[in-house]
Symmetry: C2
Subunit: 233 residues, 2 copies
DNA sequence: TAGTGGTCTAGACCACCGG
DNA sequence: CGGTGGTCTAGACCACTAT
């Protein structure tokens, strides 16, 4: 009478989402048990479970054993961000990619790097500074520190042709990642490297990665004016 | 002999992840069929499926019907971002939250707003400018446009006590979201409002939301110097 | 068209945690 | 302790797409 085909977990998800949009379930309200929803809709409990997992992933509801499922009282704006390899990013914009190593040398990790990794004390690390170019013009300046204990291979790499960005992403999978975004004013050196006016506002993307608590690398990707980071949604 | 308890999908995920880390499966390589992995590990295929779903969500592998599962050739750095309501953000930092409406009026949507929504032509919208304070000092300046057709309730709200940020997040769930981040230099008005030096570099978080292609709101959250956006990971 | 992942089901047991 | 979500299984069928 009503529907001929089975309910998919997306259907179930959308129905519940609809109820939340409509206000049938408001912030903080408790939803029926999965089993009850399943019975009401005429599907298996695991289908409801799959739908709820999705709603939970998107931050719309919170689930607890015994506590049940509740609409999140303090909603958050949740989004997924994809940061591609810089070379790919440039090429996909239709421009010609270029790369230029600025400096490569061992040095004791400064305080900021020690803090980013959560280490107790400083230690010697490999610092690699490089410039990514788009159609020959500066695109991103990369100031990177690599932990040689975790990646001994870097001692044999000079990073004159291939960027550390690319080598690490391809060869050093991580198990933990910290990302942060902020803005800085171009100091004289940066405005020189990036060919911008002194004091220009630059978006900085800072990434730190670990393998099982062993620090791999931390990098500040300092972008050129006008650069925008978008969600993939 | 080997193991007494069942494999969980996390175990399966970690094993495969390990194989990718080790290089047993390199970028672009094809992994065995789910069914074969299940048999090899002695678990149900759906357990492998659950593990693979997770690896796929984190951008480590790509799955296609008939094409099988492959290690992503061009890896991306993928992260999930949670942006809380500004009031909560301030309060959780231990500071006292304050709010101040700067201006509220109807106006024709400028080109940038029309473009953000993907509309064909301009139309009158409600513009709300407001300041969020942390311990009495400027924290974030919010420049927002609201589409009154989608949210007619805003005609009866003056936003002098409650911020549009909070009202919208609590009362206007969205089905689509666009996020972008970039840096701007403080112009005279911004440096005045935010009590910063003229030309200071500021991180801007731009959010646009829709319900089923109907535009709800677009907002530029212009932060104060030093503000950092972090991943929840 | 055939191979592979995607989903649904029904049932069972487990893990967590609120009352 | 008991209620609820989390997971695993075995099997079936479907949907997509590479070959």
């Amino acid at each position: 009478m009503t529907s001929d085909s089975r309910l998919s977990w997306r259907d179930v998800r959308d129905r519940i989402h609809e109820h939340i949009l409509t206000g049938r379930y408001g912030p903080g309200d408790r939803l029926p048990r999965d089993a009850d929803i399943a019975e009401e809709l005429g599907c298996a409990r695991s289908t409801v479970q799959r739908a709820m997992q999705d709603l939970s992933d998107s931050g719309l509801v919170e689930r607890r054993r015994k506590g049940g499922t509740r609409v999140r009282a303090e909603p958050v704006t949740r989004a997924t961000l994809d940061i591609p390899i810089t070379r790919r990013e440039v090429e996909q914009s239709g421009a010609r990619y270029g790369y230029q190593l600025i400096r490569r040398r061992m040095a004791p990790a400064p305080r900021g790097v020690v803090a980013a990794f959560g280490l107790g004390a400083s230690r010697p690390m490999l610092r690699v500074e490089a410039l990514h170019l788009s159609d020959g013009r500066p695109y991103i300046f990369e100031d990177r520190w690599i932990c040689p204990e975790t990646s001994p291979e870097v001692n044999d790499l000079d990073f004159t042709e291939e960027s550390a960005n690319e080598w690490l992403v391809l060869n050093k999978p991580y198990t933990r990642l910290d990302l942060r975004f902020y803005a800085v004013s171009a100091n004289p050196r940066l405005s020189d490297l990036l060919e911008t006016e002194p004091g220009a506002a630059l978006l900085v993307i800072e990434r730190t990665t670990w393998v099982d608590d062993a620090p791999i690398t931390t990098v500040k990707a300092i972008t050129t004016p006008g650069y925008q980071l978008l969600t993939g949604s």
